[in-house]
Symmetry: C2
């Protein structure tokens, strides 16, 4: 057992009195190496505790077997569910995943793109910052023909594979559902409008309201980062004086949960006086009482699609000149708050 120094192909070669090239070939079952030699090489390799240096191999072949992932935050339910699926799919194909968080900072995102490029990742998977509207920092990947796949928070009109949810439809279904439940005065608590998700959800909702000829009043529309603190502030404002809205559509579940808790505390009956609808179908929605209606986004499917798009791109090298979009449908999950 070699302590302190890793053994290399050369060590094995020396020990057996063969050339390093022979060892290299033997280890990967090259057809022109005799079974006898292969056996000997493998035996010695095992004895010396040989492990292939992927760095050296990567340098030689100019690839790393590592796929980079940039994500705003790991700990959001939707994201961690997607990452799990991506990781498992990708790993089963012999790739590793290097996971980085942009923490929703545009600056960090651009830095990460450069760092991962420098690491010569085989491909890059990204869910953008909610503030990313300029996507030129990703050009270095397309310019150098390195596979690039976006999911969830994605650019419009960037020549890459785009795996996204049907946020327009989600917004539309949500609006339609609240209307069908009798809401006449709907409030919408949305994320920041620099992000495609929230643009689409808003457009979807507007479309549903327009069809029913119900307006979305300015005083009923809120747009900000969907944190607990912001949601609380918005609730305070929204319920500061009557009339209260009779339906609140929240663009994420955290906000919906805060709203529901606020309503309970304020003695507003849910769903009788107020209907609340969330987005993402976070596990918490099932558990809170009354259980929150929400929009399911199928993170596992999205993750798998994303990973498959990446692996496909790596194998076919079929780089798109235009955006190639794949839309995962959204699904309304009706529970007790509507």
């Amino acid at each position: 057992m070699p302590k302190g120094s890793a053994s290399t192909i050369v060590d094995i070669a020396r020990e057996l009195g063969v050339a390093p090239s022979t060892v290299s070939r033997a280890l990967k079952d090259h057809p022109f190496i005799s079974q006898d030699t292969k056996d000997k090489v493998k035996k010695v390799a095992a004895r010396l505790g040989y492990r292939r240096n992927t760095l050296a191999a990567g340098l030689r072949n100019s690839h790393s077997n590592i796929i980079g992932l940039i994500v705003p935050r790991i700990s959001m339910y939707f994201q961690s569910a997607v990452i799990t699926a991506i990781q498992n799919t990708i790993h089963s194909m012999g790739f590793e995943l290097i996971v980085c968080q942009s923490n929703d900072s545009y600056k960090q995102e651009t830095e990460l793109v450069n760092v991962l490029y420098g690491s010569r990742v085989e491909g890059l998977i990204v869910s953008c910052t909610m503030y990313t509207t300029d996507f030129s920092h990703f050009k270095i990947f397309t310019d150098n023909q390195i596979p690039l796949v976006f999911y969830d928070r994605v650019p419009r009109n960037f020549p890459a594979h785009i795996i996204r949810g049907d946020d327009f439809e989600g917004g539309y279904m949500g609006g339609k559902h609240l209307l069908e439940r009798g809401c006449k005065d709907i409030a919408f608590i949305n994320g920041v409008l620099s992000c495609n998700l929230y643009q689409d959800r808003l457009e979807g909702l507007k479309s549903a309201l327009k069809k029913a000829k119900v307006p979305l009043k300015k005083s009923r529309f809120f747009s900000h980062e969907l944190t607990v603190a912001n949601a609380e502030a918005t609730c305070k404002k929204m319920f500061s004086r009557k009339p209260f809205p009779d339906g609140v559509f929240c663009a994420n579940d955290t906000t919906a949960i805060v709203t529901l808790q606020y309503a309970k505390k304020a003695g507003i009956k849910v769903p009788q006086e107020l209907k609340i609808l969330g987005y993402s179908n976070d596990p918490r929605t099932e558990i809170i009482s009354p259980a929150l209606s929400s929009i399911e986004q199928f993170p596992a499917e999205m993750g798998e699609k994303t990973a498959k798009a990446m692996l496909d791109l790596i194998h076919t090298r079929n780089y798109p000149k235009k955006p190639v979009e794949s839309v995962t449908p959204a699904k309304l999950i009706v529970r007790e708050t509507t």
Copy 2:
């Protein structure tokens, strides 16, 4: 803008008529290079879109600037919270984190250890599989003097840094609390006993019960993977005939939530007839009604400690001969179920 081929240090050198070594030094502000040359080099580097090939640099310096992380599952609340902290701390020191999931499979864990070793990661951070009792696959890291840090699910008696929660104390506090609330017949739904966490929580609980001279009856003790399905089966068994226990301590929150929901459905009044206590202080515990009492584990602190231990090890190269343990205290969070 170079399309299809990345520019190297040699390209820059050729363009300026200097040696590659000069370029290399200029790019990292080596003191023996004149300001004039540095400026010129940096200008050309910027123009050519040069990005340092970390693979090549890593090969030369035999390090990769990448830290490996093996975790059973990304999507568990506690884990994703720890990972977030690790990732942010580590990244601020110029390292990247490569995140892998063992999916609680021992075989996958050993494979991942070898793959990450092959990638010449700078260090390895691990939270083990719940079934890992043989830790010899990690020896390759200690043998080759590569920093190794375990957290949460950790080995006993392995010469490495160990960052763990105070699970004995958690179990003890939980037991004491239920006793203080008047429970006489306490059930314990535990994880599998191959894992240090669950061993310690059990010992802690036993210790509290012993002090109060209350026995932990065999029929009140359950040990299995703490999934929703298993928890439901256990509830079914536990509440199949009277007398029911008057307190249930669950070694994770998912199980506590299932138990609470089962009790509600069965018309058992919580906390009057049955007190329920979870473990980990998952966000869901605050939201469910009645709100679940639980044991906080401070994942962010643990993550930061873990990352710092790793960075410290990388800098000082102070490899432990014996386990170096750091214990993060647990804290009882009393809510409505007890």
